[in-house]
Amino acid sequence: MTHRPRPNKLRRFVARVPFMLGVGLLIFYLLFPFYWAIVSSLKTSNQLFQTPISYLPVTPQWGTYLSIFTTQPFGRFMLNSLLVAGGTTLLSLLFGVFAAYAIGRFQFRGRLPIYYTMLAVTMFPSISVLGGLFVLIRSLGLYDTIPGLIFTYMLFTLPFTIWILTSFVREIPMELEEAAFIDGATPTQTLFKVLLPMIAPGMVTAGLLAFIQAWNEFLFALTFTVNENSRTVPVAIALFSGTSSFELPWNQIMAASVVVTLPLLILVLIFQHRIVAGLTAGAVKG
């Protein structure tokens, strides 16, 4: 930039105004819907259905947040979601790390076909297995259970986890593993003592993405459960949509929405760099 004559400060500032306006508009666009959910959750039913619309919560009604737990077993739904997402994440990581180690580090016939099959499974339309999976979990006695959901969620979390972890395993220098081998470590010991500490960031990334996917999943949860005892939060929020859209308790729906979204947002804010790295690695390396 040094070879150009510098415009004076004021002109530079003026030139940047449209740009900064664009940035402001962008932030508004990205964040306003969530802001609106919070504002709506803090209104009473009367305030919700009032014109002109007020853009601030006039008298914040925190009671709405209590009411979603008392008018229905929302705590139970949260627990179910937590169990399903947590179980799916842990199992995906456990099986995924072995598979990723095998694909990333071992030479054997069929390695690449397996790797590409895994890729293909992530692109798979889950609707095309819905019927077959329904029959399968019915006959296994897993219909309408939390283990049943965990089991079916492996369809999309496991290949994705293996994929991310494989790319991390490949980046570890071979020498470390060779040293462990010379010291007489078994492959399992090498995996857990040498590789695992080094792919820990990859585990966090893959685990977070698997957790978010499982936490947000709707189609399987809607199809493979009927009871409140196994209902997850997305289904509960979808089922708020009752008889007609005029009677919907929008403040409760928004309160429930904020409650399920906040844990995710906190996770995302803490781990944002890892998540971005995982998302882009997953997509760019494809």
């Binding site: 969530f34 095998a102 692109m123 329904f134 199809t223 289904v235």
Partner: protein, 329 residues
Amino acid sequence: MGGIRFQPSSDLTGSRAQREVAVQQSTDIKPVPRVRRFSLAAWRARTAWLFLAPSLLILVLVAAYPLFRTFQLSLFDVSILKFPLQPTWVGFDNYVALFTDPRWWRSVWNTVNFTFFSVFFETVLGLIIALIVHSEFRGRGLVRTAMLVPWAIPGVVSSQMWRWMFNDVYGVINDLLMKLRIITAPVAWLAEPAFVMPAIIAIDVWKTTPFMALILLAGLQGIPKELYEAARVDGASPVQQFWRITWPLLRPSLLVALIFRTLDALRVFDMIYIVAGSQVETISMSIYARQQLISFGSLGYGSAVATGIFLILAMYITAYLVALKVEVK
């Protein structure tokens, strides 16, 4: 479970001692047992299969077998309500019916329509956002963080949030648009057939553009800065720099992002289901398949629909791969 061909022989699934025995056996059989590298390679291959076994078993159970089962069931007339199933063989009757089913073709058209417009707007908007965030300015970190918010919000939740915002009388969108004098009277976004699909596309664009922008941003950051410096020295304008440097080097990430988004959009379920249910104006392929399979309980015909979706996606992926190959050549 005859489908699991990949598993190592069962004597390898045991403890380490067993495995060593197996290794020894395998070296005994080999014609040149003295060559240590050879047996090591074989042993490592076995270990690899052993490590892969649990994942492969799970994927056979949740992916391969149900997919096969869906194909199989599509050749039968069978109800989902009676267990154990009582299938009646009908051959390709379900496919004949599918081919002449106007509701199915309507759902295909709706899905293609949704996919085309949402992916188009997501790409254009995502590129603009990526270019903005790629430049240096104060508050850049804030924008990057804000971009993750729509992505992290569950699809069901964002659908409900926007459904409320689109409310015709009390919705904030009508209010804002009227304050900005873009419209003069409230619009019934979700009741008017002409507006439902655009409204749903708007929700998807909001939710997914950040993902697109993040991938494109990663692509932008991979372009060496020296190229721009060299171009500036040669007197290239910013517009020339974009078309001569940014665009060609960004194309690979753009293509990858496009195929992933398109595949995702072709599978759309949550958003349309929450906002519009299974009404014919907006029903997507996935919603139609689920309606046939679960709500109407016709496992046979529903499986034919699901197979139809599978074939359409497979055709799309093949076309994409062929196009990519042509491009590489």
